[in-house]
């Protein structure tokens, strides 16, 4: 098992239900069976990651395999969430894929400078997500866990 594999969950931080539904569908369609945890805003995402608030009592060392982070979030924005993740030693190396709704350069540059590992433009179809995952070195992990019977491309 990989050191990162704390249960193999994927944390999807997304406030738009349509986007959430479409993302879930895309992952499911491609047989990614990992547990998918949904956070509706930045505060909720941080609670999940650090075992606070609604997630009080959740062991914080059980980190998700990857975070899919929308930037445009209510309460605490995506960039702030990313900043907090990188500031915290325990989550410093957690893979974060930023979801953007446009190619707005400012967002992309800002998220890279804050330490995002990759970004994917919404709607998150599997191909785009797959490329990001591949570049993050998570490909085999996801593939192995989700579709062991599938032959690698």
């Amino acid at each position: 098992m990989n050191a990162l594999a704390g249960g193999g969950a994927i944390l999807l931080v997304e406030d738009n239900p349509d986007d959430e539904l479409l993302t879930l569908r895309s992952l499911k369609k491609h047989n990614i069976m990992n547990e998918i945890v949904i956070a509706r805003d930045g505060a909720e995402a941080l609670d999940y990651l650090f075992g606070t608030g609604a997630y009080a009592g959740r062991p914080p060392e059980r980190l998700p395999q990857v975070v899919l982070l929308d930037l445009n979030l209510p309460r605490i924005g995506g960039l702030d969430v990313l900043r907090r993740i990188r500031e915290t030693p325990r989550t410093k190396f957690l893979p974060v894929v930023v979801l953007t709704s446009s190619n707005e350069d400012e967002d992309v540059i800002e998220s890279y400078s804050l330490g995002a590992n990759s970004y994917v433009r919404k709607p998150v179809n599997f191909e785009a997500f797959g490329v990001a995952v591949k570049t993050l070195g998570l490909f085999w992990l996801l593939m192995n866990e989700t579709s062991p019977e599938r032959t690698t491309p």
Partner: protein, 618 residues
């Protein structure tokens, strides 16, 4: 007809000539008179002097003759009487020599008297030698003495001079001399009079002319050009006066023009919308306009001669002296304000933002500088409002990007999901509708993206650097080839084309231009795209040329406007934003873009990038 021109030189020459003639005649007349006098004196000498000299000579001869007779008698020597003949001949020779001085009759009378005497004396002498005595002898001696006396008297009378005649001759000579003197005096006076008269006449004319000239030039000097100089005559001074008049006429025109231009300058200055302040090198105000009075609250009188610093905000005052000195070292038109954040100061102490344009004015008193001062309070307010609304616009763009696209993603995503998941529950028409919904949503997303790109291009700061456009063009074409591997397109880029510009923007520009060329050559079996650079007036002009569909130049003006398309989406896909974006990029670099094309014959897009640093490097 022009009156006869008598030059000053001719006049002077006339005076000299007249004077010379007068003196020549004076000398001639003197000479004539002198000759006359000389002639008379000569006549006196010729006539009287020999006669006076002849008397003692003849007397001497006569005495020697007499002594010779006496000697012969005393010695009783008859032979000695022969010697008397020689003395007689000597007397005659003497007489002959002096004969010219005598009356002709007198000489003959003297010869006759001499002969008579000598004959008598010879007879007497012989008788005495022979010791003859007697009364008869006494008579002969008396006769002889009478002859001798007669001869002596004759000598005396014939050589005597008429004193009266001599005196009269001298008187005549003196009179002639005196007459000559008076002639000379008369002629001298006449000559001098003529010379003086002429000189006075000419001199008066010259002095008058000079006076008129001097007075006229004084008048011109004082700026009064209405009355011209009048000089009588037609000499050099008259010419000079005419030239001075001509000069005055020209000066009058120039002075009028100057007055007019001065009036124009003043009215321009007064009507200028800006406060105009004219300042000397000493930093003191020379002239201001009404707008200055209104803007700063000072009156003209208060400002005239005051240091220009009183119009400046306190913080600028200290540095202004050095700024002024450096300006006068290199005076040129210069705009200040936009970047410098300058403030003016009113009489009441309030300060306000200004923009100043300085221009040097060359005048007789040296270089002055005119400052046009504009109150930019209102503009600053608008600018800050504009900055604020720009921020709003950015927020709006962001919201368009995020909020508008979210529902669109829903439409597209769920239509797509429906097509995939529930295809079996739909008939062909239903599937086709769903596909159209997807296509519409995709196109709308593209449009939003294009609009956002356009607005980003307008807002982004340009960071210039040297960019290898040739290399960039090859990268872009490489991407195009990768995206449409089935196309065969010949691409030629001139190597080494560089530009000084913003690399990401230039890349976006080439992506659009080359993408268009790629797209519009789609129907060509032998598609060809060229990227190059040429020079117009030594500035680089870049171009992207293709042999594609081209367009009708009649619609060229629509090319660069957003959402304007010259082809249908069915013919060629596209948002209609690309060229608008390209134009924005080019303009933000300070350049221009234009196109040359013909329908069906390809298109060439040419552009500049606002500086001359680019071009083809070797």
């Amino acid at each position: 007809m022009r009156p006869m021109h008598i030059s000053l030189r001719a006049k002077v020459m006339t005076v000299v000539a007249v004077t010379a003639v007068a003196f020549a005649s004076l000398v001639g007349a003197s000479e004539l008179v002198a000759r006359r006098v000389q002639h008379q004196l000569y006549a006196i000498r010729e006539h009287y002097v020999p006669r006076v000299e002849l008397e003692p000579a003849l007397r001497g001869q006569l005495e020697r003759l007499e002594r010779a007779f006496q000697d012969a008698v005393a010695s009783h020597d008859v032979d000695a009487l022969d010697a008397v003949g020689d003395l007689r001949q000597a007397f005659l020779a003497q007489l002959a020599a002096g004969q010219g001085a005598l009356d002709p009759n007198a000489a003959d009378a003297l010869r006759l008297a001499l002969a008579t005497y000598c004959a008598e004396a010879d007879d007497v002498s012989r008788r005495l030698i022979a010791n003859e005595t007697g009364e008869a002898l006494g008579e002969r001696i008396a006769a002889m003495q009478a002859d001798q006396f007669r001869l002596t008297a004759l000598i005396q009378t014939s050589t005597s001079v008429d004193r009266q005649a001599l005196a009269s001759a001298f008187t005549q000579a003196a009179a002639a001399e005196s007459e000559a003197g008076s002639y000379r005096l008369g002629i001298s006076i006449a000559c001098l009079a003529v010379a003086f008269a002429l000189a006075a006449w000419i001199g008066r004319g010259i002095i008058r002319s000079f006076a008129a000239l001097a007075e006229g030039l004084d008048r011109f000097g004082a700026g009064d050009f209405r009355r011209h100089i009048h000089v009588k005559g037609h000499d050099e001074l008259a010419d000079l006066a005419e030239q001075a008049n001509a000069m005055a006429s020209r000066l009058e025109v120039v002075s009028k023009e100057q007055q007019q231009s001065e009036a124009k300058f003043r009215s321009l200055m007064e009507s200028a919308p800006d406060a105009m302040v004219i300042m000397g090198q000493d930093g003191r105000i020379a002239l201001v306009n009404a707008q200055t009075e209104r803007l700063f609250g000072y009156s003209r009188d208060e400002l005239a001669g005051a240091p220009v610093e009183i119009l400046m905000a306190e913080k600028h005052r200290a540095a202004h002296g050095e700024g002024r000195a450096s300006y006068f070292r290199e005076p040129r038109i210069r705009s200040m304000g936009a970047a410098l954040d300058l403030y003016g100061r009113r009489k009441d102490g309030t300060e306000f933002p200004v923009e100043i344009t300085l221009s040097p004015i060359d005048t007789e008193e040296g270089t002055l500088v005119s400052g046009a001062i504009r109150d930019v309070t209102e503009r600053k307010r608008i600018e800050s409002a504009l900055r604020f609304s720009n921020k709003e616009l950015e927020a709006f763009s962001y919201s368009v990007a995020h909020d508008l696209r979210a529902p669109l993603r829903g439409i597209h995503g769920f239509s797509h999901a429906l097509l995939e998941d529930s295809a079996d529950k739909l008939d062909d028409e239903g599937k086709e509708f769903l596909r159209r919904i997807c296509a519409g949503a995709e196109r709308m997303a593209e449009l939003i993206d294009a609009l956002l790109t356009l607005s980003r291009v307008s807002r982004m700061k340009i960071q210039r650097q040297s960019v290898d456009l040739s290399a960039l063009a090859h990268i872009v074409v490489g991407q195009l080839r990768a995206s449409t591997p089935d196309r065969t397109v010949e691409f030629v880029a001139e190597p080494g084309i560089r530009a000084n510009g913003d690399a990401p923007l230039l890349r976006a520009m080439l992506e659009n231009l080359l993408g268009n060329a790629w797209k519009f050559t789609g129907a060509r079996p032998e598609a060809r795209i060229t990227f190059g650079c040429k020079y117009e007036e030594s500035a680089p002009v870049y171009y992207v040329a293709d042999n594609g569909a081209g367009f009708d130049m009649a619609f060229a003006n629509k090319l660069f406007a957003p959402f304007q398309r010259l082809h249908t989406v069915q013919e060629f896909a596209g948002t209609g934003i690309g060229l608008a974006t390209v134009q924005r990029i080019v303009r933000r670099h300070g350049g221009e873009i234009w196109a040359e094309a013909a329908l069906g014959k390809g298109a060439t897009f040419l552009f500049t990038l606002g500086n001359a640093e680019g071009g083809v490097s070797a």
